[in-house]
């Protein structure tokens, strides 16, 4: 059963149509990539799913509930997490602190308890630190836990952002161009990470320009052009799809 269902989603900005009648599903345990030329509406699609833009029409259903037009933090709290194209890490924080912010809603500490160091709240805080450490270990970032995030390479910062997005009970992960600025080895690491997350049952929606990575990691690909879905299918189907070749891949 689909975890995320988009039905006829349109977004208009002051007369400009950014998305038009977009319909597709994302299934748990699958990596679904959205590709398309610049200006095709990929980022708008992400923003419409995560609440940063309200769809003008259509429905966005996550786990059966319509989330279209709800506030970003409410959608995020329901298990939808995203990364940002320009990088959304908090540069002044350490890597560990970044990951801890992702655990904010899972940290069961009460404001009054925090103020005066009451036992239960302190324990909840310490448990969050332990959990963040184990997540960092899982993602190969343990050595950098106490480094200021801005000092890391852009590839490492991407991984920090993904780790932070995963910290909660994430069921749908949206990654906006995670491979930008990654070295080849980091890119391989990212692919391994994405595949193992999918195996754990997380649904992944990916916007990416690095087409080799998309073809290698995706179960399904959705092709956007001028705000419309022009094709969707397996990597093999997309590779041989005439309209896609014409609009995007650019070879014959």
């Amino acid at each position: 059963m689909a975890l995320l269902e988009l039905k006829n989603v349109s977004v208009h900005f002051a007369g400009l149509t950014a998305l038009s009648g977009v319909t597709f599903d994302v299934v748990p345990g699958q990596v679904c990539a959205v590709i398309g030329p610049n200006g095709a509406g990929k980022s708008t699609l992400f923003n419409a799913i995560t609440g940063y833009v309200a769809p003008s029409q259509g429905s966005v259903r996550f786990d059966g509930r319509n989330i279209a037009g709800r506030a970003p933090h409410i959608i995020a709290a329901s298990g939808v997490r995203r990364t940002f194209q320009n990088g959304g890490v908090f540069g002044d924080m350490t890597v560990l602190e970044n990951v801890l912010t992702g655990l904010n809603q899972q940290t069961d500490s009460h404001p009054i308890g925090l103020l005066v160091n009451l036992g239960r709240s302190v324990i909840a805080e310490k448990e969050a630190v332990q959990k963040a450490h184990s997540l960092l270990e899982l993602m190969g970032l343990s050595d950098h836990a106490n480094r200021v995030t801005a000092d890391l390479s852009s590839g490492q910062q991407r991984i920090v952002e993904i780790t932070r997005a995963l910290a909660a009970h994430t069921r749908l992960l949206l990654l906006d161009e995670p491979a930008v600025g990654l070295a080849a080895s980091e890119r391989d690491h990212l692919m391994t990470v994405l595949r193992s997350l999918a195996e754990d049952g997380i649904a992944i929606l990916l916007v990416e320009h690095v087409i080799d990575l998309v073809m290698a990691v995706s179960d399904r690909i959705v092709v956007l052009n001028q705000g419309e879905v022009i094709a969707s299918g397996t990597p093999e189907e997309i590779r041989s799809h005439d309209a896609v070749i014409e609009a995007y891949l650019g070879y014959h």
Partner: protein, 327 residues
Amino acid sequence: MSEITPAGASVARGRYAIVLRIGALLALLGVPLATNDYLQYVVNLILIYCLVAVGFNIVLGYIGQLAFANAAFFGIGAYTVGILMEHLAVPFWIALAAAGVVGTIVGALVGLPALRLKGYYLAIMTLVFGELMRWSYIHADKITKGSSGLPIPTANAFGFTLGTDTRKYYACLAITLFMLWTTRNLVRSRIGRAWVAIRENELAAASLGFSPALYKIAAFAWSGAVVGIAGAMFALVLGRIAPESFNLSQLLLHFTIVMIGGLGSIAGSVVGAVILTSAPELLRNFPGLEEIFFSILLIAVLLFMPRGIGGLLMTRMAGMRERLFRE
């Protein structure tokens, strides 16, 4: 306890920290032995400005909002205590708590426009609010006694009369340490991390499942509480409060303390409060030197340590970075 450091080292470090803390506390308790009345009064002011700066820093440094209602929070705390004690004969400790509560409420209310306004607009709006409050103290002279100032009755606490500067010092010390401790606890929790996250990237913060609006209001509310409490102590220490104590030059002093201490650093704010509160008093016998001292200090800070004393300590000394979590 950290798993990375060997347990022995951690215990040793813990013991060292405890010894250091007990030593610091004994030194603080012994301060009145080394002061005369005037110096003691200056030390009391330092305690007040520690809270003024730390409270302001929450808004400016931690959540990164350009809001300048700090002198207003300070005045509201002071006048809450003054009005309750002078007109209603409320005991000091209750008036103090009331100043915290009123500060919290006013802080939250001032935080509301911050949900819509940013940058200069928020700065102007909060400045106007501060001036409006000062105007109110002057013109509500039935209860504030206007420009001539409101006298504060001598406070009593648990059977002691808080009449001398030394007694006021012990009351202020307890209050200040408690407020610094609670503020540090907040900063080192999910709340402090959410504040810094919002400062760093509000859009990304919203993607993590918590409401930036709620945490902004919380930051303003706590800032209002801390600075309101500082205002209450101000009323206690001065014995008389007047509208001119909460004007723009007072705000400028608050701002300078925070900037010199460093945005987002509690220790920096404390150091900044010590320097900027004591210097004018120590330089009082040398007319003109005060201005030169402030100018040189500000220029030096802006040129050589744009993140203030706290920022300098954090980058130059290992382990001095103020963490946003507990181990």
